[in-house]
Symmetry: C2
DNA sequence: AAGTATAGTTGCATTATTAAACCAATAACC
DNA sequence: GGTTATTGGTTTAATAATGCAACTATACTT
């Protein structure tokens, strides 16, 4: 598995991708948000090779994104549930989702939408805001090395 | 290169990852936001194999994320610049960055920060909001199939 | 106890990635 | 105008990751 180059060791984007930047991890996390917990559920949902799923689940547990709990409903198998760190990936998935909706359905309309559970209404697009509340685009920002 | 499984063909997250879910693409896009444009600049910054960079750049151009423009400053070589579609990946990178900052620097502090260009102040954390403005966590949302 | 489903592991074939050499087209120098 | 260095790749061979299918072990069902 890849590691970030040394030049990139300080970049939080690179470190994030180090943990979840492979082919499957974010899809596993997406399914975990959707409520899947068991090895077989993930495997069936993703259609991926089982040995790779084993490796990915192990990696996500080691990264502290998933927790392998012995049993939830009395059943004897392990279940994989999101930790707080894993739940914090939610904005990443939402950002990918919104970008995919906007740009990866040319011609057709995306048939799946993310809605507010209470009201059933679609959520707002994510927006980056400055400390004073102004909306910011990429060009309005700057990467700075902290003192 | 992987393609999403057929079950996932409708999921915008899967389609997004299909375009930028590999090891390098998002780092290339990050560097493009940072202002890099030339083959050699990307290669030097990322330290990746050049043939793979060739393939990734071609893929990003085919996906409409980058545009290969013949010359910007009169120089004769190609330059790779973000399209509108590519610039729309900004929230994805910010989400990864903020997650990385919060969780991938255990013990140490992340020395790089994203700031508002005008004011120099750090940006706000991305937040998902309902149509009526309420903050939403993952558990407050639902995936729904559109009529 | 026998049969079945779950959760992996193992071994082998396929594919992706890397590192390094190679090449063509500028650009810089003299 | 010819030589040399740099840029932007391509090709090739070795290495690493991934997928597929068969296998094992444990738990559940009857």
């Amino acid at each position: 598995m890849r590691r970030t180059s040394l030049d990139d060791a300080d970049c939080p984007v690179a470190r994030a991708l180090d943990a979840v930047g492979d082919w499957w991890s974010l899809l596993i996390v997406r399914d975990a948000f959707f409520g899947l917990r068991r090895f077989g559920e993930f495997q069936k949902s993703l259609g991926m090779a089982r040995n790779i799923l084993t490796v990915r689940l192990r990696g996500l547990v080691e990264s502290g994104i998933l927790d392998a709990v012995p049993a939830a409903d009395g059943g004897a198998y392990k279940e994989y549930v999101l930790t707080a760190k894993g739940r914090d990936l939610f904005p990443v998935l939402v950002a990918l989702r919104q970008w995919g909706e906007a740009h990866q359905f040319p011609g057709e309309a995306c048939r799946i939408e993310l809605v507010d559970r209470d009201k059933g209404a679609p959520v707002q697009p994510l927006e980056l805001r400055a400390a004073d509340g102004r909306r910011l685009a990429g060009a309005d920002t700057l990467i700075r090395t902290r003192a």
